[in-house]
Symmetry: C2
Subunit: 379 residues, 2 copies
C-alpha cells in the first residue's frame, strides 16, 4: 500500500461470503446443490436501494476490485482506477458490489473447493458454468443483498458479456449496462487461442485429469503456457513494440535455448510464472469455456438484435482502437444490434495503444467518458 | 498423385545429397566440421549458367518444393503452385534449386543427424544457425553446382529473409531477389509467439533437454502446442471465420473439456497432431531462433537502407492484405529502405483473405504478378 491511503480510494475493505443452499440448475444440465460466493462492497446502499452497481470480472479477475485488504498490500484491487470516491464508478453515489464468479479460485465455490459429496476437491468434477449461469448466481446474491434492480451492471471483456447477459436474463433488474472491450461472441480465432491454452493445461502430465490437487501437484507448465498465450492477445503489437521492441536482456546474444535473449521473452516468462503459482488450472479451463459458449444470438437465429430486444436497460459500449482480442468491430456488432433493437446506446471508441488491457488502464479520455456516463445515471 | 502427372508439373523428381567437408564457421561462434545438404533441381541449367533460381524455404519447409517423389504421392511439393513449366517460376526457362536448410529434419544435417564426434544424434548439441549461416551454406551448394550468380533468389516468410540476406552477403551473386510475405526483422509480438512455442517444447517432460531421441521418445505434446500457436498466426481472423466460424463439431454442446466442441478446435488439434509426428522438435526450436535473430539493420545502427545499400540485385516484394504475422506494413519497411538505398524495387500488395499462408496459395493476381516479374528476368 502507499504510505497513506489515497483520498480517492475506498480504503481498507474486507470480503464477505454468502452461502446458498438452494440448488442452482446450470446450462450444462447439471445442478450445484449448494455453493458460496465471495464478494466485496464499496459505498453505501441508499434507502431506496436504487444506487447499486454490479461489477463483473473477466477471465482471471475476482471480487477484490478496489481498495486494500491490508495496510501491507502493495497494490489495490484490480479496477481501483475506476472505482472510488469521485472516480468513474463514484462510491460517493453508488453502492458497488463485486464478486468472484462461480467456478473461480478466489473464494467462491469452484474446482479447488471441497465437493461435499466426496470430501475431496471438485477438480475436474466441477460442472462447466456459462455466462448465463453466472448471471443467475449473481441474481441470487442481489436477492440476498436486497437489490431488486441494479442501477448498472458493468464489466470489461468477459465481464462485459455478463453485463449484456443481465439485460437479457433479467430485463427488469438492470437500468444501465456498461460493456467495455467486449464482444457478442467469440470468433474462430478467439476460440483457437482458448483451445491452445486449454490443450497446454490438459496435456501437462501434472494435470492428472483435473484431479491434481489430490496428487499434491499443480500443472504449472501448462498454466504458464496458457497465460503466456493469453498475454500476447491482451497487448497490442504496437504496445509490445513500444514496451520491449527487440530489446535484449543482456548485452549480447547467447545463441542457445535456455538463455533469455529478448526482454519480451523475459516478460512473458515472468507473467506465466507468476500466474501459474496463484491461479487454478481448472478455473482457467472453465473461464475459457464460458467465453467460448457465450453467444446470445444463437438462440435467435443468429440475430443479436432479436436476442437484445427484450432488454430494458440503456447501454454504454466502449472499445479501444488497438484491442485485437475484441476489436472495435466487435463492439460495433453490439452497438448495431442495439440500434436495430431501438435501445438507447452510447458508444465510445477510445484511441489507445495498449490493446485489450486498456480497459484496466487509467486512460484519461476513457475514464472521463466512463465517469460522464455513470454520473448521468439517476439514483 | 493425380491419375496422370499434370502437364504443368515438373513430374517425378528425386532429391540429391551433397556432402561438405570444409568446416563452416557459424554466427554463434561455433563451427560445423562437416555437413550435408539435401536438394532438388527442376529444369535445366543453361550453357551460360545464367538461369539458376534458388528457392529458400520457411519455418517448416524443406527441399521438396515441386513435383512428385513417387507415383503414389498424394500431394506434390510444397510450392508446386509456383514452380513448373509455364508457372510463375517457369522451369522451361529456369533451373530451380531447392534445398533443406542446415538444422532441418528432412535430410540436411540437423539435430536428428548423427554427430560424428559422439556417434549419437546431435539433439540439443546442434549449434544454433542463423539466416546468414544458411546463406553461407547455400553459397557453397551454388559453388558445387557451378552457379556463380543466381538469376533470382526467391522465398516466402523466413525464406524471404534468406533472399534478402543473399543480396547483402553476396551482392555479386544475385541478380534478383523476390521476398514474399516477409519482414526485415521480427516484432516483439512475433518473438513472443515464438517464445510460447519454444517453451511448449522445452517444458515437455519428453524433451529431455533436447536429447529425446536417445531416450526413444519425442516431445509430441510440446510440438503439437507449438504448431497450434503457429497455425493461428498463419491464418487471418477472417479466414478462420469463413472456414470455421463458430461451427460445431457435433450437433450439440457437450459442456466438458475432452470433447471437441467447435470445428476450429478439431482443425487445430489435427494440424498439431499431424505436425508433431513428422517434424523434429529441435529443428523447430532452431527455426524460431533463426527468425528471432534475423535483423540485418542491427549492424547498421538500425538503418535498413544502410544494410541494403551494398545490394546489387533488383527486388520484388509481395505482401498480402490480411497477413498479420508479417503484415503489409512489414513489407513497406523493406520497400522504403530499398527506395532510400536507390534500388530497383517492384512492390505488390495482394488483396487476399488467407492471411500469412496466402504465399503458398494459388491466388490468381499473386501468381500473375509473380510470373510477370520472373518472366522479365533476362537469362
Amino acid at each position: 500500500m502507499p504510505t497513506a491511503i489515497p483520498a480517492d480510494s475506498v480504503g481498507l475493505v474486507s470480503p464477505k461470503v454468502e452461502h446458498f443452499a438452494e440448488p442452482l440448475a446450470l446450462a450444462c444440465g447439471r445442478t450445484l446443490d449448494s455453493y458460496q460466493l465471495i464478494y466485496e462492497t464499496y459505498g453505501e446502499l441508499n434507502a431506496a436501494r436504487s444506487n447499486a452497481v454490479l461489477i463483473c470480472h473477466a477471465l482471471s479477475g475476482h471480487h477484490h476490485a478496489a481498495g486494500f485488504h491490508d495496510t501491507e498490500d502493495r497494490k489495490p484491487g484490480w479496477w481501483d482506477s475506476c472505482i472510488g470516491p469521485g472516480k468513474a464508478i463514484d462510491t460517493n453515489r453508488f453502492y458497488v458490489v463485486s464478486l468472484n464468479n462461480l467456478g473461480g479460485c478466489n473464494g467462491s465455490t469452484g474446482p479447488s473447493s471441497i465437493n461435499p459429496l466426496t470430501g475431496k476437491p471438485y477438480g475436474a468434477d466441477f460442472p462447466v458454468v456459462t455466462v448465463e449461469d453466472w448471471v443467475n448466481s449473481q441474481a441470487r446474491l442481489a436477492d440476498v443483498l436486497g437489490i431488486e434492480q441494479w442501477a448498472a451492471v458493468v464489466g470489461g471483456s468477459l465481464g462485459g458479456m455478463q453485463a449484456l447477459q443481465w439485460t437479457m436474463s433479467y430485463p427488469e433488474r438492470v437500468r444501465h449496462c456498461v460493456a467495455i472491450a467486449s464482444a457478442p461472441k467469440l470468433s474462430a480465432q478467439n476460440i483457437a487461442f482458448n483451445e491452445v491454452a486449454r490443450q497446454a493445461i490438459l496435456s501437462d502430465p501434472e494435470f492428472h485429469g483435473g484431479h491434481f490437487l489430490e496428487q499434491g501437484v499443480i500443472p504449472k507448465r501448462g498454466l504458464m503456457l496458457a497465460r503466456m498465450v493469453g498475454h500476447i492477445t491482451y497487448l497490442s503489437d504496437d504496445a509490445m513494440g513500444t514496451k520491449f521492441g527487440r530489446g535484449l536482456k543482456s548485452e549480447k546474444l547467447n545463441y542457445d535455448f535456455n538463455s533469455v535473449e529478448f526482454q519480451v521473452e523475459s516478460y512473458l516468462r515472468y507473467q506465466g510464472e507468476e500466474f501459474s503459482s496463484r491461479f487454478d488450472a481448472n478455473t482457467y479451463l472453465l473461464m475459457t469455456k464460458a467465453l467460448d459458449y457465450f453467444d446470445p444470438a444463437a438462440a435467435h437465429d443468429d440475430d443479436l438484435a432479436g436476442a437484445l430486444s427484450c432488454a430494458k436497460a440503456d447501454f454504454c459500449v466502449i472499445s479501444f482502437t488497438t484491442d485485437w482480442r475484441f476489436s472495435p468491430e466487435r463492439s460495433h456488432e453490439i452497438v448495431n444490434a442495439l440500434m436495430a433493437a431501438r435501445k438507447n446506446v452510447c458508444y465510445l471508441e477510445v484511441d489507445a495503444p495498449q490493446g485489450h488491457d486498456a480497459f484496466l488502464i487509467p486512460i484519461p479520455r476513457y475514464l472521463q467518458a466512463f465517469r460522464g456516463y455513470m454520473n448521468r445515471i439517476v439514483v
